[in-house]
Every structure is written in C-alpha cells, then in structure tokens.
C-alpha cells in the first residue's frame, strides 16, 4: 500500500466515524463509549504482526506479547462490560409494553 492511499483510508475512516455517531440518545453514551473503546483495541493486530515478524528475536517477542495482552485486555474487557450494560436495557422493554 502506498502512503497516499493509506492517507485516503485514514480520511475516509474518519468521515465514516463522524457520520456513524450522528444522533445518539444520552442513554447510550456510556455503552457507546465503552464499545468504541473496545474497538480501539484493534491494535492487537499490530501486536500480532510484531510477534509473527519477530523471527526469534526474544525481546521483540516479549514486547509484542505484552502489547497483545494489553490490547486484548481492552478488547475482551470492553466488549464484556458493554454487553453487561446493554443486557440491562434490553431486558426491560420485554417486561412491560
């Protein structure tokens, strides 16, 4: 990928993000923040790349592994905690109405 096309990717990704969060009811601000936060743990892919390409370089393997751990902590924890919050909402409307 050339640098220029990566910049295009960056630009379009940002615009997509701006568009996606148009109107959100305040109720969902906390879950949305927490869900988006989990997605930002996508750096786990970078950590994986680092480990795969380390070619036996032990310090690099360790850095990659620690980085992967931090990222997955963010991802797994983030999605679980978001699910926990949202589970409370989705239970309600079925009770009443």
């Amino acid at each position: 990928m050339s640098f220029i096309s990566l910049l295009w990717v960056l630009l379009l990704g940002s615009l997509l993000g701006l568009e996606l969060i148009g109107k959100v009811p305040p109720t969902l601000h906390t879950p949305l923040m927490s869900g988006a936060n989990a997605i930002s743990g996508i750096t786990m892919l970078a950590a994986l790349t680092l480990i795969v390409k380390a070619e036996g370089n032990v310090p690099l393997l360790i850095i990659g592994s620690v980085s992967l751990g931090f990222a997955l902590f963010n991802v797994v924890g983030g999605f679980f905690v978001t699910d926990r919050m949202l589970a409370m909402f989705s239970r309600k409307p079925s009770n009443k109405k």
Binding site: T43, A46, V52, V81
Partner: protein
C-alpha cells in the same frame, strides 16, 4: 495479487463493514446489544484473517505461537474477570482503565518496531518510506503514551486514589505542560533525523504530558476527558496502523477517533462546558470559590423522613431526580423499592434523567436499569421539564447542580446557560442530601432556599431505607 492477499483483503473489508455496522447499531437502544456482539465478531474475524494470511504466506514460527498464546490468554482473562466483577457504579474508571491499556498497546508496538526494525521495512529502504515510518512511530508513541498515563490518572482520580494537587490549579501547570510539549516536539524531530535514542525521551515526556494535562481536571469534567482519551486511543491505533502498514487498523482507529470526538462534544454540550475550558480551565470548583463568594443560605427548611413519607403518600404524581450522590451511595435498588410501594398505591412515578446525571452521560440509565426500573419511566430532561408544574412531589437524590435554578435566572452565575431540570416548579421538593456541601461546581444552589423546598439530611441509602419503613407504617403499597 496472489490468493492469500485477496482472501485477507476480503476478510478485512468484511471486518470494516461489520465494525461500522456495529458502531451504528450501538447508537440505538433496540439494536445496541446485537451491535456490540457484531463488533466483537468483526474483531475476531480480523484476527483470524491476519493469522491465516501469515500461515499461508510466511508461516508462523512455533516460538511466535507460544508468545501469542501467552499474551492473549493473560490479557483476555484479566479483561473478562474485571468486566464481570466490576460494580456498575465504577463504570467510568473501568472504561478509563481499558482505554489506557489500548493506548499502552499502541505505544509498545511502535516502541518494538523502533528498537528492532521489522525486516520488511529495511528490505526496500528508501528515504521517503523511512520518513513516514519514523513519523508514524513517533505519533503512535506520543498519542499512546498520553492515552495511557492520562487514562490511568483519570481512573485514579475517579477512584479517589488521587486528589487534585493545589499547584495544578495555578498558572504554573500551563508552563509545565508547555515545557513537556516542547520537549516532545524536540524528541520528535530528533527521532526523525535518525537519532533513535531520543525515543526514550519521547516516551518519558509524552507520558508526563498525559499526567500534566489530566491531573488538574476536576471530577465533574472527568467523563469528558475519558471520552476524549478514548478518541485518542483510536488515533493511536490508526498511527500504529501506519507503522505496520495495515489499512484495517487505520480505518478502525480513525472511526473510533472520530466517533470519540463527536461523543466528547455531545457531553460538553450537556454540561455547558466548552472543550477548551475543560482542558485548560482547571477544576471548576477551584475557580468559582476563588472568584465569587458562594453566599450563605438564609432560608433552609429541613424536615424528617416521616414528613416526607406523609407528603409522598398524599401525592398523585412524583418525579425522582437521581444524581451522582445516589450512585455513590449505591442506593438505586433501595430507591426502586420506595417507588414500587408508591406505584402500588396508584401514584404515578417518573424518573427525570439529566443528560449528565450520574458520572457519565447515560450512566444513571444503566444504574437504574440495573435496579429493574422500567425503561419507560426514565424521562429525558426535555420531555419531563413541562411536567414539573403538574407534579406534587419531586425527590432530588444526590443531584445538585443539575437542579440549580441559577442556571436559568442568574446570568452572572458560572452555571448560567446550563440546561437544568425545573424542579422548583413542582408543589413540593424534597432534597435528600448528606449536608449542605456544594455540588461539583462549588456554587450555592438557590433551590435549597426556596419555600417549597425541604431538605432531608442523611445518606441517600439510609434515608430511603427509613422512608420504606415510614411508608410501611402508613400502609402504603400493602393491599
């Protein structure tokens, strides 16, 4: 293009699509839970895509597998345990902690690549490409470090482990932070010039900058800061995407970065604060107590729980205004018991939710949902405000600034212009509060002085428990 490249391309594209749909779905109550799972699925898909790509091309060494498994098991395990165990009231600091770790991850990736250049990059070395590489590494380190230390400080402050040091409220902190910022810039250019050792300087000063910027910010503004740091962690991920040449990372990071910015803006609006004043204005309470004397209360009426129960029993319509204090006292379940009793007596009960009630926008909804409050009883500010004149009793529980009429009446007040709940319009207002201390803003609340307001002093949970007892004695809710 050979098959593995095409397959990875398709998987990445699919993952981006699903992530976008996930974020979109998270903004609607109905679809939110499925959307969250969809996003989680997209993330796992992207991992499968990446690993299968390497398996079918260069292969993955056993040693790499070992480190992958160690890292993922430890990280996922701790993440899952924390997510299951943490109480709903400490959601803001939990999000901050997760967020900080995401930033740390980006920082470590960039550090790793910087110290041990990956073979790919060196093979087709050309000046332009290496320049881009240096820049993206530096940005990733800079933003990642700020995200990490900033989030950790935010978490520590929300947990009450850290208070706001006095010196951070003076002008000195701007000077200190400018020094850190300039030092980061110097390290940044030094790094680009090829002096790799300045990478450590960059790590240190950007970490200090993250602390220096977050430390002076007061508790009320913390949610905004967390949201902003969340946006930063997206940017850090995007920068890491440039480092390892991954479009997926760039798109996902950019999406989170942009979405986080929008969310930050929405929160600022709800609190009548500009982002600039949140970041550079320091803690609001320190400001206002210094500038305007908060004034004395002249006409406080305090009353007993018994009186409160009697008034509630005679009411037709009751509005509950829950706030931060309720969350701290963990009294949402007790509150639900009180309202159940009232409902059984045919009293209409509604919860008025200010956009920033609780400790984060939407946090109060989560807490009340946890206590089984029906979703339909939660009313947003704009919907509920016209109802106050027709309301018999308003119960204010641990909320303060969001019910301060000053925001509407007194143009000299720092709160002026902030959207508030018009509780004073109701016939009777009970404010359940521990003492006469001021809210976040440190500003006197004119509501407390009004003739139709009575204060019930005590811990929210204890008062509500007493209230249940009194209501029982009155035979409310027992048919």
């Amino acid at each position: 293009m050979n098959p593995p490249v095409i397959i990875k391309f398709v998987i990445d594209l699919l993952a981006v699509l699903l992530l976008a749909l996930g974020i979109k779905g998270l903004s609607k109550v109905k679809s939110a839970r499925d959307a969250n799972r969809l996003a989680a699925f997209a993330m796992s898909l992207s991992v499968v895509g990446l690993l299968s790509y390497y398996l079918s091309t260069s292969g993955i060494a056993i040693q790499s597998w070992i480190w992958i498994i160690i890292g993922s098991i430890i990280g996922s395990l701790f993440g899952a345990i924390l997510a299951k165990k943490v109480p709903m009231t400490s959601m803001p600091e939990t999000v901050a902690l997760f967020n900080g770790c995401g930033g740390m991850s980006s920082l470590l990736v960039a550090l790793g690549v910087a110290i041990f250049p990956i073979s790919d990059v060196q093979e087709n070395f050309d000046f332009f490409k290496s320049l881009i590489n240096e820049v993206s590494i530096s940005v990733s380190i800079f933003v990642g470090a700020i995200t990490f230390t900033g989030s950790i400080v935010a978490m520590a402050k929300l947990q009450g482990w850290l208070s706001t040091p006095v010196w951070t409220q003076s002008k000195v902190r701007h000077f200190v932070n400018i020094v850190f910022a300039v030092a980061s810039l110097i390290a940044f250019f030094d790094l680009i010039k090829g002096n790799t050792s300045s990478i450590w300087l960059l790590v240190i000063v950007s970490s200090l900058l993250g602390i220096g910027v977050t430390l002076p910010i007061g508790g009320a503004d913390m949610p905004v800061v967390i949201s902003l740091l969340n946006s930063y962690s997206g940017i850090a991920a995007a920068a890491a995407g440039f480092v390892v040449d991954s479009q997926l990372l760039i798109v996902a990071g950019a999406m989170v970065g942009a979405a986080g910015l929008i969310l930050t803006q929405v929160m600022c609006k709800g609190m009548n604060r500009s982002l600039v004043s949140v970041l550079f204005g320091g803690s609001l309470s320190a400001q206002s107590t210094a500038s305007s004397g908060s004034g004395e209360y002249t006409n406080i009426t305090s009353c007993s729980v018994e009186e409160c129960a009697l008034t509630l029993e005679a009411a037709n319509k009751v509005i509950i205004v829950p706030g931060y204090g309720l969350a701290v006292a963990q009294a949402q379940h007790t509150l639900r018991e009180v309202t159940k009793k009232l409902e059984q007596n045919g009293i209409e009960v509604v919860y008025a939710i200010h956009p920033v009630a609780g400790r984060m926008p939407g946090h109060m909804n989560v807490l009340l949902a946890e206590a089984d409050v029906p979703y339909e009883q939660l009313k947003e500010m704009d919907v509920v405000n016209p109802d106050f004149p027709a309301t018999d009793v308003v119960l204010v529980l641990g909320a303060n600034d969001v019910v301060n009429p000053q925001a509407k009446n007194d143009s000299s007040s720092p709160l002026y212009g902030m959207p508030v709940l018009d509780v004073q319009e109701a016939r009777t207002v009970f404010v359940i509060k521990r003492g006469m201390s001021a809210g976040y803003s440190g500003i006197k609340n004119d509501l407390f002085d009004l003739p139709n307001t009575s204060m019930v002093f005590g811990d929210a949970k204890k008062v509500l428990n007493d209230l249940i007892g009194e209501l029982k004695d009155l035979g409310v809710g027992e048919k």
